[in-house]
């Protein structure tokens, strides 16, 4: 965590993600749909692993029930 190029940026982001994920959950949206991980640009394998893991979590959840339809159905 202490390796952020901008010193504390990731800590600050993490705090906001903490709040947001719980708010999503409160609104009935699976909090697993939001994820923050710290992977440096030099860590390609870790990045792949993280993304694959995330995909494994996301797939069973299916598309978001809020996904916008292309046409606007109500006004």
């Amino acid at each position: 965590m202490s390796e952020c190029n901008y010193l504390y940026g990731n800590y600050c982001a993490e705090k906001r993600v903490t709040v947001l994920s719980q708010m999503l959950d409160f609104c009935g949206i699976e909090k697993d749909r939001l994820r923050a991980r710290w992977v440096s640009s030099a860590e390609a394998p870790e990045f792949v692993e993280e993304i694959n893991e995330f995909i494994d979590v996301l797939k069973p959840l299916g598309p978001s029930p809020l996904k916008k339809q292309t046409s606007k159905d109500v006004a």
């Binding site: 046409s71 606007k72 159905d73 109500v74 006004a75």
Partner: protein
């Protein structure tokens, strides 16, 4: 108004807004409630939370339709057919309240005969709604213990407007959903004080409280109160009649108070022509509206925040309105302007205050007889309130005792709109409102944030039609009717059916009322703003 008056004897929302929360089914037809009447919508949402069923019938799938248990999309101008089809089902399924009909209504047989000659299949054909849906609609409304009807301009702004309303009245009487809490036929008023303006005789044929000018006793009473020998007994002119009068030189001067007919009235180009023709045009408003721009004299009125007096809202509730700030600049209270002009014409008015005027209203108007400023403290009173002891009337026609005596059934047959689609003008066009704007935008379009929200007009069109016209979302389209043409951007959406387009009328720049049909209902004189035939072409 006229339709309800004919059926029930009183032309107003029969029940109180709050009662919507106590009902089992709400049938909304021709009302974009969530957008135009958010406070009524709030009650409806609460009702839904309590388990009430919501039925919405509208040619356009508006916001509140998203909450409906059943949404019916019928063709514009086919309300009577839909309602008759619905009543056919109700009668066939034995959902009619025969006891109520027998005890409290008249002319049922004539009505029944009309319905007998009509089939659900015909209704389905005319409205382009499946038989199954009409049956579901009938059952959901008919089976509810208490059911409320809510309607608005989608019902009234038709050449068949009065018939539409009478049909809704028929429906409520047929199922006994009238004269009880949580039932009724409820027209939503478009402005905060439309009801009040009508109550005050802002119609060509009545004094306050709907006392006909043709009625000798009323006439005499008012003459006496105002200290004159005699008052005219002939009925005045409606707006279309005034315009016609200007055209044939019978009307020389026009005083427009808080209206913007250049944008709001059908066939706008014609309206403009007429207003230019009239010898003296006086406009009283708070902004220099497109109509005020044509005026010879502009009188500065006051805004809501500077007003003092009473409003009567959609549920007949008379409420105090108090100024928050003193009138700005040279502007004056409307009553002061009227009084001043009257005095200059030689008829002395010497009212001291709105309360002074209100006391006169109460003394001359039976339905307002028991109301005083003192009693209006708090939440106000719903008329009729004839005596000082009367608690006001949340809902009308209690226990089937209609204002006119018995509820009157009307046999109504379906008539198509005044203008129908053909090969040359193949699209049905209907108009309405959007949430960010109010009426002709005289106020909302002067608000930076509201105008930012929706800054320009747009035409809603079904994806199928857009594809056929080979036009993309946000692009410009030329739309023409027999009366004029406009160019506007389009919004592709399946809120509307193929063959039907919708456009809001708030925008002077893309004034859809240049296209609308000025043909009006023969009784109510309300023009057919909600349906006309147009053609579309890529701009």
């Amino acid at each position: 108004m006229a339709g309800l008056a004919a059926s029930f004897g009183s032309g107003a929302m029969t029940n109180a807004m709050g009662e919507l929360e106590t009902t089992d089914a709400i049938f909304i037809i021709g009302s974009n409630t969530a957008t135009t009447h958010p406070l009524v919508a709030t009650r409806i949402f609460r009702a839904i939370e309590k388990g009430a069923k919501l039925i919405v019938a509208d040619p356009r799938k508006n916001q509140i339709a998203g909450f409906a248990d059943l949404y019916i999309r019928h063709k514009p101008g086919t309300d009577v057919a839909l309602l008759n089809g619905m009543m056919k089902v109700i009668m066939e399924k034995g959902l009619a309240d025969e006891k109520f009909i027998a005890q409290n209504t008249e002319e049922f047989d004539a009505f029944k005969q009309g319905i007998d000659n009509f089939t659900v299949e015909e209704a389905s054909e005319i409205c382009s709604v499946s038989v199954k849906d009409i049956e579901a609609l009938a059952k959901m409304y008919g089976e509810a213990d208490r059911a409320s009807i809510v309607y608005c301009m989608g019902i009234t702004q038709h050449t068949n407007g009065v018939n539409n309303v009478k049909s809704l009245a028929n429906l409520s009487m047929l199922t006994g959903n009238i004269g009880k809490i949580g039932t009724g036929v409820n027209p939503l008023r478009g402005q905060n004080n439309v009801q009040g303006a009508c109550d005050m005789g802002g119609l060509p044929n009545v004094y306050t409280g709907y006392q006909p000018v043709t009625l000798g006793a009323a006439n005499k009473k008012f003459a006496q109160a105002w200290g004159v020998d005699q008052l005219p007994t002939n009925i005045g002119l409606t707006i279309p009649e005034m315009f016609a009068g200007i055209e044939n030189d019978e009307v020389k001067a026009l005083w427009v108070m808080g209206e913007n007919p250049v944008v709001s009235d059908p066939d706008a180009d014609h309206v403009k022509k007429v207003l230019k023709k009239v010898e003296l045009l006086i406009v009283q408003d708070i902004f220099l509206t497109p109509t005020a721009k044509l005026a010879d004299v502009v009188l500065p009125g006051v805004s809501f925040a500077e007003k003092d007096g009473t409003f009567a809202n959609t549920e007949r509730r008379v409420m105090r309105v108090r100024k928050a700030i003193d009138p700005v600049g040279d502007s004056r209270q409307d009553w002061e302007i009227i009084q001043e002009i009257s005095n200059r014409f030689g008829f002395e008015m010497n009212y001291d205050s709105p309360e002074d005027i209100f006391n006169e209203i109460a003394s001359l108007t039976p339905s307002y007889g028991g109301i005083s400023y003192e009693r209006l403290e708090g939440v106000g009173l719903q008329w009729p309130c004839p005596t000082r002891e009367h608690p006001g009337t949340p809902f009308l026609h209690k226990d089937g005792k209609f204002t006119r005596g018995k509820g009157l059934f009307h046999a109504i047959t379906y008539n198509p709109p005044a203008e129908v689609i053909d090969d040359e003008y193949p699209f049905w066009m209907t108009t309405g409102r959007v949430y960010a704007h109010y009426h002709t935008g005289t106020m909302t379009r002067n608000s930076k944030s509201l105008d930012f929200e929706i800054p320009e007009g747009f035409l809603e069109i079904n994806p199928v039609d857009a594809q056929n016209l080979d036009i993309c979302d946000g692009h410009q389209i030329k739309m023409a009717s027999r009366r004029g043409e406009i160019v506007t951007k389009i919004m592709i959406t399946d809120r509307v059916d193929p063959g039907v387009v919708f456009m809001p009328f708030h925008f002077e720049e893309t004034n859809v009322n240049k296209l609308t049909n000025p043909a009006y209902d023969p009784i109510a004189k309300i023009p057919e703003l909600k349906v006309c035939a147009v053609k579309l072409e890529k701009a």
